[in-house]
């Protein structure tokens, strides 16, 4: 029992099962349907992809507030190139990804090598990327090429593609973070940066790479969202950064670094997605969702702290 409570992957899964069971009992014909689950997975897939990047950052002991804006920028830039310059889908998507990677590089370089505080740097980038998104999109850009829409609107086994991309990204990064030396370093960096450097890890370079990965994942999410919506909105991803950080912390990361696993990011996003879905089905207004997620976040961290207390001294 204690073991389950202590490992967030287990405790959150258990909580999810309870929530799903209760909601299933209360709303058997609207909640527990394949259609509803397909829809809610699709809705949370964007957040989950961004959450994976945020999880890596939090494991390394840093975070990124600019992911929501980078998401919007990548989507708007890709749409802009296709709509105004008739750039082929492949190259436009490539350009969107490269641009988001560049913003991530800028974040990472200034934070890791120039010592700018991560919160301040990414806060600044949040404004810059949002501004760039507005600049390239104006109002929303619509009428995007058919094959661009196919990226996010196609279905496989009846499930829309963003869900598969999400599962692929979570799967690949779970494998990399647990089995490769390269990604494993992030745990050491987050646990103790000085000790990691003295163990021969190039901490600065690794941190910069983490910001690039996170921005790239935000870029992927932005392009997927644009494709799925069939339109690029400059307001995409507003408030996403805090939602994603919440999901990742629910999923077992801590702001002080060194803890967390990639599947936790998916679980956190899943949890928030399911709560949002239940709210819609129960016809409860939007702000209640924020209140409930906030309360659950406090509750989980509180439980953690009270469990830890027994080990003190």
């Amino acid at each position: 029992m204690r073991k389950i409570l202590e490992d967030r992957i287990y405790s959150l899964s258990a909580l999810l099962v309870v929530v799903v069971a209760v909601a299933g009992l209360v709303y058997p014909d609207t909640f527990l349907t394949a259609d509803n689950f397909r829809q809610l997975l699709l809705n949370l897939s964007i957040d989950a992809i961004v959450a994976v990047g945020m999880m890596i950052l939090l494991i390394a002991g840093v975070f990124d507030l600019s992911v929501g804006s980078i998401l919007a920028f990548a989507g708007c830039l890709t749409a802009h190139l296709m709509f105004f310059y008739q750039v082929p889908v492949f190259w436009a998507v490539g350009a969107g990804l490269i641009a988001s990677g560049l913003l991530g590089f800028l974040n990472g370089y200034l934070i890791a090598y120039k010592g700018i505080n991560a919160m301040i740097q990414t806060l600044a980038m949040m404004g810059i990327a949002r501004g760039l998104a507005l600049m390239v999109s104006g109002a929303a850009i619509q009428n995007l090429p058919y094959w661009f829409g196919a990226i996010g609107q196609s279905r496989l086994l009846g499930v829309q593609m963003p869900v598969w991309y999400m599962l692929l990204i979570v799967g690949v990064l779970t494998f990399l973070m647990s089995k490769t030396v390269f990604f494993r370093r992030y745990y050491y960096i987050g646990s103790n940066e000085v000790a990691a450097a003295l163990s021969g890890i190039r901490v600065k370079r690794m941190k910069m790479i983490a910001f690039i990965i996170s921005a790239l994942l935000a870029g992927i999410a932005g392009i997927l969202l644009t494709s799925r919506l069939g339109a690029a909105l400059p307001t995409m991803g507003r408030g996403l950064e805090l939602r994603v950080i919440t999901a990742v912390i629910l999923g077992g990361a801590s702001l002080s670094g060194g803890t967390g696993r990639i599947p936790g990011a998916l679980l956190g996003a899943l949890f928030m997605g399911i709560v949002a879905n239940i709210m819609v089905i129960a016809r409860v207004s939007g702000y209640w969702q924020d209140i409930i997620v906030g309360l659950i976040l406090i509750l989980t961290l509180w439980t953690d702290q009270s469990l830890k207390k027994n080990y003190k001294l």
């Binding site: 163990s199 021969g200 060194g258």
Partner: protein, 490 residues
């Protein structure tokens, strides 16, 4: 009448009996030394006396009244002040504000009366003959000065009982003598001191009475004059420590050579380390020994000069290069520089393999050798899934050494490897260093404990003002000779 009486105190943590029916008494005006290896229960006892922990059974009588402490503030009010091993000062505030933390004198408007604050602080510092300006920020002080401020802070409450936990761990010899003078002064005023230290010389110099704990059990209390160094060690360790005879393994070949190696801290370093040699580095705190180690290791990379390994020039611009070339560094501060707080022993050992090219993952083989090292170094637990943070200082240090040894070092730079670890672990570290030298590796040993350097080293470099002030062969070296060089002509 006794000032402090402890009757049948017990306290356990999950899986450990930290204190088992311990009784002891402290007289007024007595310096009472508390000895024992790490994990013997000294810290638990101190935490109980300072109100941080609550005993399960037993009672404490202080100044004739039974004491039930709810929290540290309660202890202060009762007249017990404690100086912790880990400093409790705020770097960004002034010395005076630290001394009167949370009880600054106020004006009748309820605002902090800085004039009075500084005045009272300087009176106190003067009385203790501590030469520190009360207005200066604590962050600018040396480790030793901070320790003095910490003591002043404890004494500002005019305690009847002062508890000092390893007060000399990061302090120069000059400051040690100031500290001892303060303790003498307290004793003359009829105040009592409980003194905890691993440095046996200090204990015999200052203590009136010695109490020994081992594994949470009281071994006994004796007048200091009734014990000798050897009998005290025997009581603490429970076994006779073999003192190995010195044997030099220094070979002819030069293993590591620095030629005019410089960075912003160190100017033109020249040194040679032979195969199988243990090269000591002595000096006062802040003399530049750690800076030299970081220069050689690439943590503060060189801007000029050459580093040669086996007569071949090597470029060491990052610890990664150093490690890939077989140069390893054991940092000075375990907690901030070596410890990964979330990691198990195995995961910590695994950090030996995170450098450079991705190494091929024969994880099982690695695990076996890791387990073998853990056993060989006599780490207290064979369970490699245990968190390193839960081990005692000595065992932590062994794990960190094992991590370095897994990388097959050619050169090992050990910075204060026995700092704050108990005497049994110390001997294990000594034996290990000797064995490594016998295998033909080169060792640079930085230490503030002169006896340690004198027993282990083939040669001792004395560092002063970021420069090598002198090089003493084993035969030339003595404590006084080293101190002379370390302190300079005046």
């Amino acid at each position: 009448m006794e000032l402090l009486e402890i009757h049948h105190l017990s306290k356990s943590f999950p899986g450990v009996k930290a204190l088992d029916d311990v009784s002891l008494a402290v007289r007024p005006g007595e310096v009472h030394a508390l000895c024992g290896e790490n994990g013997a229960g000294k810290s638990t006892l101190m935490h109980i006396l300072s109100g941080n922990l609550h005993p399960e059974t037993g009672k404490i009588v202080f100044d004739g009244k039974e004491l039930r402490l709810k929290d540290p503030l309660d202890a202060f009010r009762s007249g017990i002040s404690i100086v912790h091993q880990h400093l409790s000062l705020t770097d960004t505030l002034s010395v005076a504000e630290n001394i009167f933390a949370n009880r600054q004198p106020v004006t009748r408007w309820g605002l902090i009366d800085f004039e009075r604050l500084y005045r009272e602080s300087s009176v106190l510092l003067e009385r203790l003959q501590i030469d520190v300006d009360p207005k200066v920020r604590v962050g600018t002080l040396s480790a030793g000065q901070k320790q003095m401020v910490e003591i002043a802070k404890a004494l500002a409450r005019e305690p009847k009982l002062l508890i000092l936990d390893e007060p000399t761990a990061s302090v120069t010899d000059k400051e040690v003598s100031i500290l001892f003078r303060i303790i003498g002064q307290l004793r003359a005023e009829g105040r009592s001191v409980i003194y905890i230290s691993h440095r046996l010389n200090e204990i015999f110099e200052i203590a009136d009475t010695i109490t020994v704990l081992k594994d949470g059990v009281l071994q006994g209390t004796w007048p200091a004059r009734d014990l000798t160094r050897d009998s005290l060690i025997r009581l603490m360790v429970g076994r006779n420590l073999q003192v190995q005879e010195f044997a030099s393994h220094r070979g002819k070949e030069v293993l590591l050579e620095a030629r005019n190696l410089s960075n912003s801290d160190i100017h033109a370093l020249n040194l040679k380390l032979h195969k199988g040699e243990i090269l000591g580095m002595a000096g006062l705190v802040g003399a530049g020994r750690t800076e030299i180690a970081r220069l050689l290791f690439g943590a503060d990379p060189p801007r000029q000069g050459e580093l040669l390994l086996n007569q071949e020039p090597v470029k060491v611009t990052h610890p990664e290069n150093a490690i890939l070339n077989g140069i390893f560094y054991l940092p000075e501060d375990r907690k901030t520089q070596s410890l990964f707080p979330h990691m198990s022993i195995e995961e910590t050992l695994f950090s030996a393999r995170l450098t450079g090219k991705v190494m091929t993952g024969k994880v099982r083989q690695f695990r076996e050798s890791a387990a073998a090292f853990v056993k060989k170094l006599r780490v207290a637990t064979p369970d490699t899934a245990k968190k390193v943070a839960q081990l005692s200082g000595g065992n932590q240090q062994k794990v960190f050494l094992a991590k370095l040894l897994l990388g097959e070092p050619k050169v090992l730079i050990a910075d204060e490897p026995t700092h704050g670890i108990d005497i049994g672990a110390k001997h294990d570290v000594y034996n290990l260093l000797r064995q490594l030298a016998a295998e033909g590796r080169g060792i640079i040993l930085i230490s503030s404990e002169l006896p340690e350097l004198l027993t282990l080293c083939d040669r001792i470099l004395v560092i002063r003002d970021k420069k090598i002030a002198g090089s003493l062969s084993r035969n030339e070296a003595s404590e006084s000779r080293i101190l002379e060089l370390a302190m300079g002509s005046n």
